[in-house]
Amino acid sequence: MTELFMLIAAKYNYCLYVILMMIGLYAMIAKNNLMKKLVGMNIFQTAIILFYVSIGFKHNATIPIIKGDHGHGGHGAAIHAADYMNPLPHVLMLTAIVVSVATLGVAMALCVKVYQRYQTLEEDELRMRLSEKIKS
Amino acid sequence: MEFIQSIKPVLAVLIPLAVIPVLVSSGGRPNVREAWTFIAGILSFALVVSMVPAVLDGNRIGLTLFPIAPGADIALSVDALGMLFALVASSLYIITAMYSIGYMRGLNEHSQTRFVAFFALAISATIGAAFSANLITLYLFYEILSLATYPLVTHHQDETSKVSGRRYLTFILGTSIGLVLPAMIWCYHATGTLEFSAAGIFTGQLSTPSATVLLLMFVFGFAKAGIMPVHTWLPAAMVAPTPVSALLHAVAVVKVGVFSIIRVLTGIFGVELLSSLGLGGLVAFIASVTILTSSAIALSQDEFKRRLAYSTIGQLSYIVLGAALLSPKGMTGGILHITMHAFGKITLFFCAGAIYVATGKKYLSQMVGIGYRMPVTMTAFLIGAMSIIGLPPTGGFISKWYLVLGTLEGDQAVMLFVLLTSSLLNAAYFMPIFYKAFFCTPAEAMFERKFDEAPVMCVVPLVITALISFIFFFVPQPFLKLSTLAVTGFTGG
């Protein structure tokens, strides 16, 4: 039991991201309203970003911008990797955020278009309209 | 015995294929179109004939076209058996082309261009199948033939032909994909090759039960051979115009079926393996059941072409039976029967078509007394029927003679009995037609006693084929030579 607790304590960040991701995924699959699904989609994506950012975190390290005295090709003190956060996950997540906002924009445009045509954003009502259309 | 690299077999296959675009583009001018058909037929036939001497010397002619997988190429190779079949098919193509001009124009059929184009495709595939060097090539041409025949069978595009077309496809395509393809891949998986060879491709990898299953998959898989119970497509396919029934369902398509079975028996399994496993008897048994049953059914058919179809089913099984006897004489007889039956049966179909063109009658019960109106046709009919029954002086007698010798050679009295019974049945379903055509009281006769034959283009071909059937009795060469050569090749003797 204590082992499990230790495990969770050491990795609680990872565990919480899993919870957040489950919330997002659940909203995406189970929610009836398209806009809610979009919110779920975004939560899902930010959860993944949180996971990546957590990978990049190091205790006792600072932000990944090299301090002034090293700049300009200076060969002052050596740079230690342990002093700076891992920049690579940050880079990846910058890309991921932009991709997610692009997806959000397209999805929203689609929602607006669906609403224009069917005057609703509820999935069950949409399904009903569609089957009516097929019958008529 | 040497292998000659040559492009001739490829050309023989390609010429009918290459002429198709020309046929389609000259669709508006029927005479030009028919001329091209003849040119293709004659060229192809000439190419085949030009290879005869070399084959008779015991050589093989061939070419590898495309490698597909190691040990399985698309390759052509001409041996005696293939040569015999190709000769029959390509020569009869010319005659049928002539006949179909008479028939199609006589009936003013629609879509004639499509008809001749697919006909050419079918004949190309048939020659390809005859020249195949291995199972995969054979399968390729077999499938092309199946599909090329479909628009011919359903030429009339009405409800009946739709139903028949469905049945045709279900049986032909269903068995070839469902049975032959897995069987073929099984062979390839077990041996790594699909090349036909006299010794067979299996060298002890096959237990008796699996060999039996494999053999049955092939025998029933090649449904074009019309082994019962996968024969029902053939009577159904009789809705096609008569030239199709004549060339394809008496010669090309069905013979490709039996040809494939012979190839598998002799080239894939090998005579030796089959006799050591005792599987020849099994095939022979299946064939003889088909022979007797189909002959009996033929007796009860009133539609002329359906009766011929059931007769064909029986006769095809003769060939299979001959091959399955595994004795040299029997196999010779079987292979020779490919030729003899082809010429005999095509005559009969021509007759049926000619009668239909001239009088519009399809049913035998409506043909009483027709002999006086169409004496030439009915005389040809007599010769054809005699050949099928196996009576001298026609070619059919020779092949049946060898078959009978084969049963004696193999000490298979039961098969001898089957052969004789079935010959009697053959006579029983053909002779009454002829009898009623000529020997009926004037009161019974349904036609005026006035000479009124079908168009010349219909009559000439059937006279020719009847004459050839007749001549074969006296000059069975080179077909007899080819069959004996083929059998020597198979038995390694």
Partner: protein, 81 residues
């Protein structure tokens, strides 16, 4: 040293996420979503991912929320769940 703030904000994030999903008014959802994004941005800033936090602040909490509001303006605020 960070972990206590970190944990508190994480809890906030989850609360905002759940609220955004369960509230029955889409405009409120949009606003809660903005809050969620902003919390997330804080979290990342704490973890030293300044660039990511900056982007999330401008994209997630800023523009995305505006898009949401715009879309809600053009469709409806009503939702069944």
């Amino acid at each position: 040293m960070y972990w206590s703030i970190n944990l508190v904000i994480l809890v906030f994030v989850i609360v905002c996420a759940l609220a955004a999903i369960y509230v029955k008014d889409l405009l409120a959802t949009a606003v809660l979503f903005g809050a969620y994004s902003f919390m997330m941005c804080l979290l990342w800033a704490i973890m030293g991912a300044v660039d990511v936090a900056f982007t999330e602040a401008s994209v997630g909490a800023g523009v995305s929320t505006v898009f949401f509001v715009a879309a809600v303006f053009r469709t409806s605020r009503r939702t069944k769940d």
